[in-house]
């Protein structure tokens, strides 16, 4: 299983032949500078990864983590600086070369060939051939089985990719990296779409890879994961190297401090605000297979957190309330009046707003600019004489919100896809605030957002509640749910298993018991 040269090195250490006390470095990136037209993305980045270590690369969005990795794997060669891999200076190479060298990257957004089987995805572009030069499917099947065994994935290699969960697709990507015999595997936020059980599974595989002498560069925003899995952490800020630390010498505060360059005093600035009358009532909401009998109410000024595992039906319930998913049964009441909501237009008219879970999929209009992205839901208010749009009002509002939410963008005419995730999210929040909503549904409002922007969005949510808005917030991060909510609704397999008052002594374990459907104490 372990390629010979690595095994050889490992034996050398075990036997004390090496005079170096630390393990050698598999990767050294020194003084990396990367200029794009008009932008200096990396000023002086460094990264050193040891043999057989899991090395976390941290930093806020826009800190240059992805750019640094793109330099490494040859997508964007660096403007200046040196990269040593296995002690050798490497330069002028393509992405294909990096794979051959033994560097493999698992991207945040997976691009599987969905309608083809697992095995063809693994061996894409290097299919084993028989003596006639045709693809040898039998051999491919056996080779795939072998790789899948390494990561303990019990799937038939002939299964089409589209039948797999995101987590499994990720495992396939890892299998692919192994099949390339990669020495260094880069994982870019692999857990953002995984449930906690899947995350554990992933970590298991990562540890196994590490034991086999592989090195992993792990990019994530989730601090608890870093502490759970990483040996060392390197932090970048604004394209510059801040430092590298052993994880055991770090605290959450210290790490945040390194990333943002300032103290984030309070990640969850929850202040209790006056809670008013019942604003929204949902009664017996049922949708085809995905959720049933969902009932809850939320008051003015209240934040209702919605917890649950991925697939619990939380997003679906909210989409049904918002009128963009069909329901078979159930009623929605606002201010004591039953309302009929069958489209997002209806929802907006009734003072609702929905910040969706997946920014890229149904949030942003990537190639449109900030102004267009921000104003789309509020167009009705800008229409004036002869049904023409008043651009001045639109621009005024946009400027005001760019300022109020401190959106970092060169101008309102910048394409939104060129902004960092946190800033995209702020534009989307502004889109909804412009409609002056009374009820805000926030689906994973801080997913994939760096710590600094996260604290800002938390503060904003608290302020909104303070203004008497009604807030329903879905989050898969329990600390966030517990830090922000007045009450917590927990769902499991399409049903509400509990609505809990948020108390000081509430534990994550208690929420998890509801979320896993094990409500009685005995399984805890």
């Amino acid at each position: 299983m372990i390629p010979f040269p690595i095994l050889h090195q490992v034996i050398m250490y075990e036997m004390g032949w090496s005079k170096v006390t630390e393990k050698p470095n598999v990767l050294e990136m020194k003084n990396i500078v990367k200029n794009f037209p008009g932008v200096q993305a990396l000023k002086n980045a460094e990264l050193t990864v040891r043999d057989g270590e899991i090395h976390a690369l941290m930093g806020e969005n826009g800190a240059g983590k992805s750019t640094l990795m793109k330099c490494l794997i040859g997508i964007h060669p660096q403007t200046s600086g040196e990269i040593y891999f296995n002690g050798n200076l490497i330069e002028n190479y393509s992405t294909a070369d990096t794979l051959k060298m033994g560097i493999s990257m698992i991207h945040q957004e997976l691009n599987p060939v969905e309608n083809r089987p697992i095995m063809e995805n693994i061996w894409l572009g290097r299919e084993p051939k028989n003596r006639f030069g045709l693809v040898d499917h039998q051999k491919m099947y056996e080779m795939s089985k072998e790789v899948l065994e390494i990561i303990d994935l019990k799937e038939d290699p002939r299964t089409e990719m589209r039948h797999l969960t995101v987590a499994k697709m990720q495992m396939i990507e890892i299998a692919k990296a192994i099949s390339y015999n990669a020495k260094l595997i880069i994982m870019d936020e692999p857990t953002s779409a995984l449930t906690s059980r899947e995350v554990d599974q992933l970590f298991g595989i990562m540890r196994k890879l590490k034991e086999n002498g592989k090195s992993i560069i792990y990019i994530s925003h989730k601090l608890d994961e870093i502490f759970a899995i990483a040996d060392r952490v390197t932090v970048l800020r604004d394209g510059e190297y801040v430092g590298t630390e052993e994880t055991e010498n770090l605290t959450v505060e210290k790490m945040i401090n390194m990333m943002v360059g300032r103290d984030v005093t309070d990640l969850f600035p929850k202040v209790t605000c006056e809670i008013g009358d019942v604003k929204l009532e949902v009664k017996n909401l049922t949708g085809e297979k995905l959720f049933s009998n969902v009932s809850f109410d939320v008051r003015k000024g209240e934040i209702l957190g919605v917890a649950g595992l991925v697939g619990a039906g939380r997003t679906e319930v909210i989409e049904a309330i918002f009128g963009i998913r069909s329901k078979t049964e159930g009623e929605v009441w606002i201010d004591g009046q039953q309302v009929e909501i069958n489209s997002s237009e209806d929802a907006i008219r009734n003072g609702m707003a929905l910040l969706t879970e997946d920014r890229r999929m149904n949030g942003i209009f990537p190639m449109l600019n900030v102004l267009q992205n921000m104003s789309i839901s509020n167009m009705k208010k800008y229409v004036g004489k002869f049904n023409l749009v008043n651009h001045n009002d639109m621009k005024e509002d946009c400027t005001r919100y760019i300022d109020a939410l401190s959106v970092r963008t060169p101008s309102m005419y910048q394409r939104i896809e060129n902004l960092s995730g946190g800033n995209q999210q702020k534009v989307l929040v502004a889109r909804w605030l412009l409609t002056e909503p009374e009820i805000l549904f926030l689906d994973e409002p801080t997913r994939g957002i760096d710590v600094g922007a996260k604290a800002e969005i938390h503060k904003l949510i608290t302020n909104l509640a303070g203004q008497g808005k009604t807030i329903v917030m879905i989050s898969s991060e329990l600390p966030e749910v517990m830090g922000m909510s007045d009450r917590i609704m927990v769902m499991h397999e399409g049903r509400v298993t509990g609505i809990i008052d948020n108390r000081k002594d509430l534990t994550q374990a208690e929420i998890m018991r509801y979320a896993t459907g094990a409500m009685d104490e005995k399984t805890a």
Partner: protein
Amino acid sequence: MAKETSDQTLTSNDQSRDKKQIAIEILKKYGIVFVLILMVIGISFLSPRFLTPNNIFNVLTQSAIFGIMALGMTLIITSKGIDLSVGSVLALTGVVAASLGQTAMANNKYFEGLAEMPLIVPVIAALALGAFLGSINGGLIAYTGIPPFIATLGMMTVARGFALIYTGGSPISNLTSSFTSLGGNIGVFPIPVIIYAVAVAITWVLLNNTRFGKNVYAIGGNVKAAEVSGVNVKKNLIMIYAYGGMLAGVAAIVFAGRVGSVHPGAATGYELTAIAATTIGGTSHAGGIGTIWGAVVGALVLGVLRNGLTLLGVDAYWQQIVEGMIIIVAVIIDMRKNAKKK
């Protein structure tokens, strides 16, 4: 943050480079305009007849018909769709308009005994029928979810079939003098060019200054996000294709006025010319990106090219080859322009 600071250092340290960058940006954005200007300069050197007022109006008149269709196509392609049916819709609305616009004593009169109708009747008929056929396209796409390519491919064949049935396969001619006067001039300005200009102005306002126009960009940019953001996607899709169909009706009127008769096989392949003009003008088939000035410039590039090559005595068959290559080059340039900047 990194972006802002480095932008500032660039302006303070290296102004000439910054200017160069702006120049590159302008060249990228308006590249096709420069291409048009270069073509005009080049051809006028080679052929002195090119830059005469007469010939310029000639180019504009020739471009008007597919130019008008390209305006609707711009909305459609910006919404991430395509409309293959506009050529056939032109033919069908054209024969219907012509049948209502014949002189009282016409040979082969379609509606025997029908008095001479005022011009407004065939015009309204063509526009309404065009919008109706377009709305069927839009409805199919919105409610059944079939791809625009397929829906409008079907309509292309169906509309052509109806045009043939309606006429029995023969052209309808002997149009009223008011109808054929549409092929003439007001002062020095050819009427087709005036109609084109009005259509440009209206479509421009529609796309840039109305809620509908904003929705077109949103639907093309990310249809799922549009659905969540309070855009009535189905209604807007129907309106987009109805507008495209209506403009095909306008083009049909111009066509009938100029030619003086309409054949059921008329305008075959015009949809592709309209798509080409739109594409050359920088409208992205990936959706969300498209401009009316682009559609106009695109149509003029094709118009100037055809006229210029004819003046230069280039063989008609070779013209097609040049045209095809221009389209491909335009899209290659365009894709580079829209490549994600990171």
